[in-house]
Point group: C2
Chain length 225, copies 2
């Protein structure tokens, strides 16, 4: 039996080692990196690492980096799957706000019932991506792939569509809402300013200027037509 707390550690390890937006290659994770992500002290994390190792969920040698075992990754992906399915449920079936779904899903992801997850998945029509554009692992842990780039990497004149955000802070999401940017929003890159790396974009005939920082945190797919 994996406790709620342990589940959160596994999910954090998955995020830090491979799912973090933009990161393709698997990256080893250190104790303090994990601690700071979970807003805990390193000593606390260090203690939990012993328990996770004991349960064969991670590999960890004294003073070395942490990696997930097969079992650890599979269990972590189950939580990610549940989190994103619940977010999708809250968004599409209960009309929750794009911004509010995360913290409720943070609780719902820990409900233990295979059957419930599968029923929700079915109710939603087996979605591949959550409302933030993040891939939903299937029941076997397979993650749907999609080619994305940051908005900064889109060429002048190209049309693209927002697929995900790599910053999920309230501040950023609120700012996007002000700009009327959300998943599936279509953006045309009008111009790229070399001076401050900002870009001029057009959304439904409205023009805006976005800073480099904002453009870096918007993951898009380029529209071919």
């Amino acid at each position: 039996m994996i406790s709620l707390t342990e589940e959160n550690y596994l999910k954090a390890l998955i995020y830090l080692s491979s799912l973090a937006p933009g990161i393709e290659e698997k990256k080893d994770v250190g104790t303090s990196e994990l601690a700071s992500y979970l807003k805990l002290k390193s000593s606390t994390v260090n203690e939990m690492l012993k328990r996770l190792k004991e349960k064969n969920l991670i590999n960890h040698e004294k003073y070395k980096k942490i990696t997930l075992t097969h079992s650890g990754e599979r269990n972590g992906l189950k939580i990610v799957r549940k989190h994103r399915l619940w977010e999708t449920f809250l968004f599409t079936k209960l009309d929750f706000d794009w911004i509010e779904i995360h913290e409720v899903a943070e609780q719902l992801e820990h409900i233990k019932s295979e059957k419930l997850v599968e029923k929700i998945d079915r109710l939603l029509g087996y979605p591949n991506f959550d409302p933030h554009g993040d891939p939903i692992p299937n029941k076997h842990g397979k993650i749907p792939q999609r080619i994305t780039k940051t908005l900064s990497a889109v060429n002048k004149g190209e049309k693209c569509v927002v697929l995900a955000v790599s910053d999920t802070s309230r501040d950023f999401l609120n700012y996007l809402e002000d700009l009327d940017i959300s998943i599936k929003t279509e953006i045309v890159v009008i111009d790229k300013i070399g001076y401050d790396k900002s870009i001029k974009i057009k959304i439904k005939h409205e023009q805006y200027s976005l800073s480099r920082k904002v453009a870096d945190n918007l993951l898009v797919g380029v529209k071919l037509n």
Copy 2:
């Protein structure tokens, strides 16, 4: 902040003191009664009672009975409300089995989000009773009333409809399923056997004999027409 464990204590106290089927008058609850209901040791419960009293959720003097404070009752009713709404959701929206909904709801009842509860309530059309026929407290803690009696109390020749069960053990629910008895099942009392207090009933032209024990645990409303 009320912990998951504390919530379960409050819900148990509500059940034992007033919601237990058949009980109309409020009843005071003792430490060991609560302990045995929660499958815990009296000493464990005793310790928790101190914490609940500290938080002003119960009244309790050494060696005396336990009663809920206003705050304790309101908070406990919130959990009962959530439990029964989730059961209704699982049953009506996800086609869960009558028998399975309870243990999943036991987890879902602890999800903290006012908004989520209200959205689920709305999605279900503000139901007054859950799939077991138990009343769902409204958001202000008001409990819908309904006049029920045990099947044992129904007179010979009368027609009635199953509204609730007072035993929710798997054994009992499975047995009912075998008999094809569930909420809203219509039952006609054919005969009452004085010898062993068993009763003969008819369900959709099929006749059965029910023991006193079974008849005592079926709560019904008598059909007037």
